[in-house]
């Protein structure tokens, strides 16, 4: 069974058609990179998958581990194992990271009929995962993302991913705004979290991320459709030649 199967997916935002017939299959243990010029629909695809209600699906189906993903609310999709590392993580003043994550982790556990973690076990888990992404210890005492630098916000996303252990993680331009050291740390984190049972979708503009996280497949998204799919060498070709040759191939 495919982990994720997207069939002929159409979606619009604010009345405008953005996705125009996406087909994509992701299996356990795979890493997929989705690249494409600005405005091609990459972030829309990510948002549609995780259930952002500002995006309206007008046609098509998505199954996740055999279940109808589009029928689930956003929080249920998360608890089914879908995770999005946000491009622009939002700040939630007054809500501490610890409180936020404890609630999130225990909601996941409740969904799987597991008892909530004790305070001690939770803190232990947090320490362990913080070390994995080299997240400054003090940050978890602050409010969610409040006053975090751009790099800290992205590290914090991967830290949350480590805490929640999703089956499918979507990283939406996690590399943008990172300096080379932070990029290395974030990538290492993602690689450490990789298992034969989970999968990752990387949305990125740049080849440089793919030096650290090596994809099995690279897809080019253009005007709401996947117009080209190949192995990791496609990313290098895109880096070298840009997107114009693909547009030419498409006869534009």
């Amino acid at each position: 069974m495919n982990m994720l199967k997207i069939t002929d997916l159409y979606a619009k935002v604010e009345g405008k058609d953005i996705l125009k017939g996406i087909n994509l299959t992701v299996n356990q243990g795979e890493i997929h990179a989705i690249m494409g010029p600005n405005g091609s629909g990459k972030s829309t695809l990510a948002n549609v998958l995780v259930g952002n209600t500002n995006f309206e699906v007008t046609h098509g189906t998505v199954t996740f581990n055999g279940k109808d993903l589009l029928a689930m609310s956003a929080d249920v999709r998360a608890k089914e194992g879908l995770f999005l590392s946000f491009q622009y993580p939002v700040e939630i003043p007054g809500v501490s990271m610890v409180n936020f994550l404890k609630t999130a982790v225990n909601e996941h556990r409740k969904y799987r009929n597991q008892p909530p973690l004790s305070a001690g076990d939770f803190l232990k888990l947090m320490r362990e995962k913080k070390a994995m992404v080299h997240l400054d210890s003090q940050l978890t005492n602050r409010s969610v993302n409040e006053g975090f630098s751009g790099g800290e916000k992205k590290k914090n996303e991967i830290f949350q991913m480590a805490m929640l252990e999703p089956t499918l993680a979507i990283l939406d331009e996690t590399d943008s705004g990172l300096d080379i050291d932070a990029l290395r740390i974030v990538s290492n984190g993602v690689n450490l979290l990789k298992t034969p049972n989970n999968a990752t979708i990387l949305i990125t503009h740049y080849q440089r991320l793919l030096d650290y996280i090596v994809p099995d497949f690279v897809h080019v998204l253009y005007e709401g459709r996947i117009v080209k799919s190949a192995g990791k060498e496609l990313a290098l070709e895109l880096e070298e030649k840009g997107y114009d040759w693909i547009k030419k191939e498409l006869g534009e």
């Binding site: 952002n52 007054g94 809500v95 969904y111 929640l164």
Partner: protein, 481 residues
């Protein structure tokens, strides 16, 4: 966007959880208000002549006054001849143990989650439980008495401490202060009296649970707190009222007097029945609360979390007379469905080097209207006085309203006044972020609202803070057990 609003309306449109009626026989007098009724109330309480005179003076003054109409509230006409002005539980005997207390009463406390036994054993809080108008049970009295602290019902204080009552009654809230204060002064039923002697730190939080119970009963509590030189007390007031269809009038008066270097912290969690989803029923809460920082370097703090009542008209205020005195007002006011709140504070600076701070957090949901109204006045001789005000409003959905009416009057050029105000909508991106981490919209809203109000909630005593957090969540969702 529309979906988000729909969702917000769904989760904020739930029912009140504390709706139930306790069957206790009550001793009531006939409906309506006239001089005879005032005399009957006084007689039933076996009051001295001077107390009756105070009531009559207030009643006659009230007759000449008009209901205030300046608030951002739509108040239906109140028929004072249709209200019962006195109700007391029939069993008036004083109990030695809980076994003697009407079991029905105990069950009420249990439903509210405040079993007296547990309170006594675990929390170290002395509970003066007020059901309807007369104190039924007072605990921890002996511990307090050892230190010379007086904590009793107002009626008892009139009998046993007439000198203190006569000296301080009406000092912070004169009988003719306003329409509702005059009404209260005429017909007040009971309430609490606290006196902390010189140099004494009250060893426990003092707490009173108020509850409206008998049908058609106006509730007119009267509380007086006196902190003598170099003393400290923290007082907690919390309310939950049973579900009712008719509107019920609640016009309380609270007076606080802080003498030299005394500190009084007064915390309220208010959860009167707010009416149903369609705005039917609910309590009218017209309260006059005022403290006087009478002594030098005295300090009064008002902390409040307001989630209940159909209509709230309430401005806990401070008059800073003593030089170097300090006053704080920290408030969270949440309105949902068709609730209306016009609440805030007055800080009147009279003494030199006086300091006040105001932190007001309004939260509006449903079709409610939530207003902050505050006055900061600096008298000519209040040199070097300071005020800091912060008024934030948070809107949930697009059918509610938030208003801010700050008044600033400064007559002294060496004073510094700061005012900050913000209005924000609860971010759907914040809710979605929580959703994506597996947190339901309901829980996310509770979490975000509590985060927004944290600054004020942190000022509450620990056990109250927990209760307040739950209350904010419940008031918005109605479903969490």
């Amino acid at each position: 966007m529309e979906d988000q609003n729909k969702l917000l309306h769904e989760v904020t449109g739930r029912d009140y959880r504390f709706g139930f009626v306790t069957d206790i026989e009550t001793d009531t007098i006939v409906k309506g208000l006239n001089e005879q009724v005032v005399r009957i109330i006084s007689a039933k309480k076996d009051e001295p002549e001077w107390m009756l005179e105070f009531r009559l003076k207030s009643y006659r003054r009230w007759l000449t006054m008009k209901m205030p109409d300046w608030a951002q509230l739509k108040i239906p006409e109140i028929n004072y001849q249709d209200i019962i002005f006195y109700a007391a539980p029939k069993e008036q005997a004083k109990y030695e143990s809980l076994n003697e207390v009407d079991p029905e009463l105990l069950r009420t406390f249990e439903k509210l989650g405040i079993p007296l036994e547990e309170q006594k054993m675990l929390s170290g809080v002395a509970v003066d439980a007020v059901i309807d108008s007369v104190s039924v049970k007072t605990t921890f009295k002996e511990t307090l008495a050892e230190r010379g602290i007086i904590f009793c019902s107002f009626s008892e204080a009139v009998k046993h401490h007439p000198d203190l009552i006569q000296q301080y009654l009406g000092m912070a809230v004169p009988y003719n202060d306003n329409y509702f204060a005059a009404l209260n002064s005429a017909v007040f039923s009971d309430g609490s009296f606290v006196y902390i002697p010189k140099g004494t730190r009250c060893p426990m939080e003092l707490s009173t649970y108020f509850r409206i119970n008998a049908q058609n009963t106006g509730q007119f509590e009267r509380t007086l707190i006196i902190a003598d030189d170099d003393s400290y007390v923290s007082y907690l007031e919390g309310c939950t009222a049973p579900m009712r269809d008719e509107n019920q009038l609640h016009a309380a008066v609270v007076e606080i007097i802080a003498l030299d270097r005394a500190e009084v912290k007064y915390s309220t969690v208010q959860n009167w029945y707010p009416g149903d989803k369609n705005g039917k029923g609910g309590i009218f809460n017209f309260v006059t609360k005022r403290g006087i920082c009478k002594g030098i370097s005295s300090k009064i703090l008002w902390n409040q979390v307001e989630t209940g009542s159909a209509i709230t008209w309430k401005y806990p205020s401070c008059i800073l007379i003593g030089d170097n005195s300090i006053a704080e007002f920290n408030s969270v006011a949440l309105t949902n469905n068709y609730q209306q709140a016009d609440t805030g504070t007055k800080m009147i600076h009279i003494g030199k080097n006086t300091k006040s701070s105001i932190v007001s957090k309004g939260i509006s949901a449903g079709h409610s209207s939530n207003s902050y109204r505050g006055l900061v006045r600096v008298a000519p001789k209040a040199e070097n006085s300071r005020n800091y005000s912060q008024c934030d409003s948070l809107l949930l959905g697009d059918t509610c309203g938030a208003h801010t009416f700050p008044y600033i009057e400064v007559a002294n050029s060496s004073s510094v006044i700061e005012h900050e105000a913000t209005t924000s909508k609860i971010g759907e991106d914040q809710i979605f972020y929580c959703n994506q981490r597996g947190i339901s919209t309901e829980d996310a809203i509770g979490m975000i609202v509590n985060g927004y109000a944290r600054e004020v909630i942190n000022k509450l005593p620990m056990e109250f803070a927990v209760e307040a957090q739950k209350l904010l969540q419940i008031s918005l969702e109605g479903s969490v057990g």
